[in-house]
């Protein structure tokens, strides 16, 4: 059963090599309902990835806590599978074995493992590549493998740290569709870090805005789905974009030029 994810008084302070203290996260408080698609948006170095790593249990907070339902999240675990920005598909395992990894670790019986793996192979359109090595796949296909691996472990919460950042526009758009289909099918809670406002508008129910480690806004994205070009060009979408840009300290003209 899915659980509410709560960030409570979360601080994360790093000590720079020079001895200077850097507040990567400052008193972050918010809750995410089960099944929500949340995009965390902010400039580079403003705490997005740190927030996700704390939630994943890969980075202990300096103060505060993250709760999954009633339980405080501590170390990493299969209940918060993560898709990383960099390529983290195991190159020495076939595509099928990659998707099976979490299931094997969780000692899922072989028959169930095979059935689940086959389901996720089909869901991401890689049935014909089940016995391929990752090196034989394109970047987009490897991201599908990572996505299927994260989905297959059966976690309620999936964390995605700019997973499509290194891909070309067309591949990224295609993967948005794949991800949204999977989300609709599974109703998992998804945390998606991005600095791409358009990507956030396509995907999110909510946009959490971080600036200098602080939560500066929590914007509901109530645009109708699917969010095609017309929806994203609507007045509502443009207004959301303006709010986000203003928080990021960028004018619309600057954003267009960039």
């Amino acid at each position: 059963m899915s659980k509410i994810v709560s960030f409570e008084d979360l601080w994360c302070v790093f000590e720079h090599r020079s001895g200077q203290l850097v507040n990567a996260l400052q008193n972050v408080n918010f809750q995410v309902k089960s099944g929500e698609f949340v995009c965390v948006v902010g400039r580079s170095g403003h705490g997005k990835t740190t927030l996700l790593r704390v939630l994943a249990g890969l980075q202990p907070p300096t103060a505060g806590r993250v709760r999954l339902g009633d339980e405080v999240a501590t170390g990493p675990g299969a209940d918060r599978a993560m898709v990383f920005q960099q390529d983290t598909v195991f190159p020495w395992l076939h595509v099928r074995e990659n998707i099976e990894f979490g299931l094997r670790a969780g000692k899922t019986p072989r028959e169930d493992r095979e059935r689940i793996t086959q389901h996720w192979l089909a869901a991401v359109g890689l049935e014909d590549f089940a016995d391929s090595w990752p090196r034989e796949l394109s970047g987009g296909m490897r991201k599908r493998v990572a996505l299927a691996s994260a989905m297959a472990v059966g976690s309620d919460v999936v964390l995605m740290d700019e997973p499509f950042g290194s891909l070309d526009y067309f591949t990224r758009r295609n993967l948005h569709d794949v991800l949204l289909d999977l989300w609709r099918e599974t109703q998992k809670t998804i945390f998606f870090v991005t600095h791409d406002i358009e990507e956030a508008l396509i995907l999110a129910d909510r946009v959490i805005l971080l600036a200098e480690g602080k939560l500066v806004d929590d914007i509901p994205v109530t645009l109708p789905r699917p969010r095609d070009e017309d929806v994203r060009a609507s007045e509502k979408a443009v207004n959301i974009t303006k709010v986000i840009l203003a928080h990021l300290g960028i004018t619309e003209e600057e954003a267009t030029r960039a």
Binding site: A56, G57, L58, G75, P76, G77, A78, R80, A81, M82, F84, Q86, T88, F90, P91, W92, L93, E97, F101, G102, R104, A105, G106, W133, P134, R135, A146, S149, A150, V153, L159
Partner: protein
């Protein structure tokens, strides 16, 4: 592009591949021919130091099964020690090069295998039990900084020249263990942190990460380390025998100091050294085939010569 064009392109790609393979064989043959040619020329100019290639081969085949020279100089030192002092007649083949060379090969391979098992057990085991690294690393670092050839005379003095299994195998095991320990540790350290973190967030336990991440992921570097260790082991094994062991290929090389000045001398020494060179290349070639299979997932494996 029409279907015909695609087929043309594929046919051209196949032709190019065959051409590259043919050129590789051509250059290899050319390289060997030039080497043998230079050797032949040198043998004419400096016959005392460079026997002709054919002369070395002839000496090797003449002495392979039974050797007049071994019997002449070392009637008691042969490749059948069990027969010494038994009262039984020592068969002629005990003096031949073949048994000596087999003894050396066996000792080197046993030492390298034992060292690899111990080194990998300590290196990879320390990933699961970090205490192993805390205990083993300082000791291994201390011995690792000393050139291994310094340890060779120590092993000969300590274990003596009679029991080659302790001296030769012991030294090679010691050397390979150190090397494989460091290679396996380094291989594990070189696995990207992102891969380990990904495994953790997928529910990976220390055991499953060891089995499905560290074990396969470290193969390329460990295999490379094993090739280096084995290449060194050939030299080390022969060196220990040269220092005083009474059997093996190194012993045969050392024995030929009694033949300095004889016409046969350069051919004998060069033949024996060449044998180990060729053997090492053959064993390495077999290893490369095995490593290519184990690292077939790695794109760069073939490019790196693995």
């Amino acid at each position: 592009m029409t279907t015909t064009d695609v087929l043309d392109v594929r046919a051209k790609a196949r032709r190019d591949k065959r051409k590259r393979q043919s050129l590789f064989i051509l250059y290899l043959t050319l390289g060997i021919a030039i080497f043998l040619g230079v050797w032949q020329v040198l043998s004419v100019w400096f016959p005392l130091y460079f026997p002709s290639p054919l002369g070395a081969v002839r000496h090797f085949t003449d002495n392979l099964m039974t050797s007049e020279w071994t019997r002449r100089w070392f009637a008691h030192a042969n490749a059948c020690p069990a027969l010494i002092g038994s009262g039984a007649d020592i068969p002629p083949y005990c003096s031949g090069y073949v048994l000596h060379l087999l003894v050396t090969t066996r000792n080197i391979l046993i030492g390298a295998a034992l060292g690899t098992i111990l080194g990998l057990a300590a290196g990879l085991g320390s990933l699961v039990f970090p205490k192993i690294a805390e205990v083993f690393t300082p000791v291994a670092s201390f011995f690792g900084t000393a050139p291994i050839f310094i340890a060779a005379p120590f092993f000969v003095i300590w274990f003596g020249v009679d029991v080659a299994l302790l001296t030769t195998v012991g030294l090679i095991t010691f050397y390979t263990t150190l090397l494989m320990y460091f290679f396996s540790r380094r291989a594990a350290e070189n696995i990207p942190v992102g891969i380990i973190e990904s495994a953790l967030t997928l529910g990976g336990t220390p055991r499953s990460i060891f089995r499905w991440v560290y074990m396969p992921g470290t193969v390329p570097e460990i295999a490379g380390g094993f090739r280096i260790a084995l290449a060194g082991a050939w030299g080390l094994g022969v060196l220990v025998e040269v220092l005083g062991i009474q059997r093996g290929g190194g012993f045969l090389i050392a024995m030929w100091r009694f033949g300095v000045g004889l016409v046969e001398w350069p051919a004998a020494v060069v033949a024996l050294i060449t044998f180990f060179g060729v053997l090492a290349v053959i064993v390495d070639g077999i290893l490369v085939v095995g490593i290519r299979f184990l690292t077939r997932w790695a794109e760069s494996g073939r490019r790196l010569g693995l």
